[in-house]
Amino acid sequence: MALIEYRDALNQAFAEEIERDPNVVLIGEEVAQYDGAYKVTKGLWKKYGDKRVVDTPISEAAFIGMGIGASMLGLRPVMELMFWSFAAVAYDQIVNNAAQIRYMSGGLINCPIVIRGPANGGTNVGATHSHCPENWFAAIPGLKVVNAATAYDAKGLMKSAIRDNDPVLFMENTLLYGEKGEVPEEEYVIPLGKADIKREGTDITLLAHGRAVLTALKAAELLAAEHDINAEVIDLRSIRPLDEDAILASVRKTHRAIYIEENKPFCGIGAQISSMIMEKCFDDLDAPVLRITSLDAPAIYSPKVEQRQLPRPTDIVDKVLSIC
């Protein structure tokens, strides 16, 4: 297996899908001639040309809507938002058109689009560029929401997302683009709706998505080394569809659960999951389901302080010790 960066794993997924399906087209701001604002699409325009890799003006509402309209005619556009925060500009197109067109047409029209880009804080760019909007969209039936934590997952999930016949919102992370991980040489796909046990354990279940998975893994090592607590870490990978079975099976084994996410707490993904655990395996629980989120205020700029706003391994350790 090759050790490659998260961004290159995505790049491989795009290249392979462009070659596999003539209807796949990458569209977005700076994706072509600039090689991508984060070099995720590096070299693809040069290799595949103007038809398959397309730069747009800064017009999120129009180009996302354009992608949706083109997908209705059978194209498979892979649309980049330079930041998922900019989805706010295209919210009507995503929520009223991509999400609803199949339903309101009684199943006559499909929308096989992927909308992707980074969705994270922690880069000192202020509140407008630091949103984690997975809960904005996972709340909408008709949409699918995917969040990859590793290079391996990023590639396999992206290939599934592109082949999926429903709109898939794919959330990446600028802090992960340079992280290396092992990716097989041979082709593989990871189905949407399958969680991954990133670390097996027996004493508590740490549930997470995105970069918080890596934070949870670091916390699990600290818990094992310093407190003799064996934590299981489950990466949702796909938020909607959701691998409910994997979550409940783990909680039934460990009897304790904490959800960790870089999103805000109010109606966050953790709120949904903790409600689900409470409803479905209340009698298996030895402690309340807890949540660790970004501190509940807009993302602060001040670089040293912002680090404290997002969940850190020590935050997780402290919370685990409060119930173990």
């Binding site: 949706i68 309209g69 083109a70 209705m72 005619l73 009684g106 189905p191 399958k194 909607r240």
Partner: protein, 358 residues
């Protein structure tokens, strides 16, 4: 009221000169079908047979019939919420449309869309969209798809005069021109964005299509009351789209006899004088204009007009009977047509939880 643009005679335009007697009668029939359908729908709405919004097109029929009648195999249509006329004009049946209004499972959208959301992709008809101007980027995308596939076609994207003041429309105009996409934005200017007149909503009071100049887009403003004029002007835009892949903005001066929606109690004597409505009906009614023209040229008689009108009325009545007798969707159907993969029970659709109500 006076129309902003004086009607011109386009009977001699090549696209009209070649029309057969049957073609002409056919257009009249289509316009009458739309009017009788909506009259019946309004009557049934008032009887409580349906819910929600309903935006009537009556008074504007020449625009939908004139434009949609020009569509070829690779020409597509998308419009806003005043969508019944375009649906019938592209060939959807009254039954499926009326049943949709009734919220029945035999409706074109299985009772899931309602009045604002008619669709027939098999007839190149992509809706039926509820958010003002939200369909304008989708129209851009249809044109993108046409061009990407190497087809000679156009996307006819309709919008009202209120929609021109939404931001995504301008973004779409810029991209349409920049990418050279064969989209035709057709502004049906009925003078009122809900209860706000053009006078109170747009800084330039006399023309909206002209805004295309900022984007190097060809535009035309025309009177929409005469089907021949609509056809002649639209044909030029279609030819531009087909031959040069360039966009066009068309603005048709038109008028709606009813309110913004059926819930609009102030349309008559409120934000517009009753006399304005009566004068338009008297002097600019598109059905009467075509009727007069066809009678003058000997294509039509009063008797044959009445017969066509009666047939349209009977068809509308039959569609109401069909809708009334049709079943409503089952509770299970609430969860159908949300996700393709779930409906087809593909491997993706069987993997993970998609719905969270329990």
């Amino acid at each position: 009221m006076e129309t902003a643009v004086t009607a011109k005679d386009h009977a001699a335009a090549p696209i009209n000169a070649k029309l057969s007697k049957d073609d002409k009668i056919g257009f009249l029939r289509e316009m009458l079908r739309i009017r009788r359908f909506e009259q019946r729908a309004l009557s049934d709405y008032q009887k409580g047979k349906m819910g929600g919004f309903m935006h009537l097109y009556i008074g504007q029929e020449s625009v939908a019939v004139g434009t949609c009648g020009l569509m070829g195999d690779h020409d597509h249509v998308i419009t806003a919420y005043r969508c019944h006329a375009h649906a019938l004009a592209v060939g959807m049946t009254m039954n499926e449309c009326m049943a949709e209004l009734y919220g029945k499972s035999t409706g074109c959208s299985k009772g899931k869309g309602g009045s604002m959301h008619f669709f027939a992709p098999d007839k190149n008809y992509w809706g039926g969209h509820g958010i003002v101007a939200g369909q304008t980027p989708l129209g851009l995308g249809l044109a993108y798809g046409i061009k990407y596939k190497g087809l000679k076609g156009a996307a006819l994207c309709f919008l009202g005069d209120g929609a021109v003041n939404q931001g995504c429309f301008y973004e779409s105009l810029n991209m349409a021109s920049l990418f050279e996409l064969p989209v035709i934005y057709i502004i049906e200017n009925n003078k009122y964005s809900m209860g706000t007149s053009m006078e109170r909503s747009s800084v330039v009071k006399t023309c909206l299509a002209q805004r295309g100049e900022a984007f190097a887009i060809e535009w035309a403003q025309a009177n929409g009351e005469d089907l021949y004029e609509v056809r002649a002007v639209t044909q030029q835009a279609i030819e531009r789209a087909h031959n040069t892949s360039r966009p066009t903005i068309l603005e048709f001066d038109t008028y709606r006899y009813y309110g913004h929606s059926v819930a609009d109690s102030k349309h008559k004597g409120g934000y517009r004088p009753e006399e304005e409505i009566e004068k338009y009906k008297r002097e600019h009614d598109p059905i009467q204009i075509l009727k007069r023209r066809l009678i003058e040229e000997g294509t039509l008689t009063e008797e044959s007009f009445d017969k066509i009108s009666d047939e349209a009325k009977a068809e509308a009545e039959a569609s109401a009977d069909f809708a009334d007798a049709s079943p409503i969707p089952t509770d299970e159907q609430i969860f159908e047509d949300v996700y393709f993969e779930v409906d087809r029970q593909t491997e993706a659709g069987r993997t993970g939880k998609h719905f969270f109500h329990d």
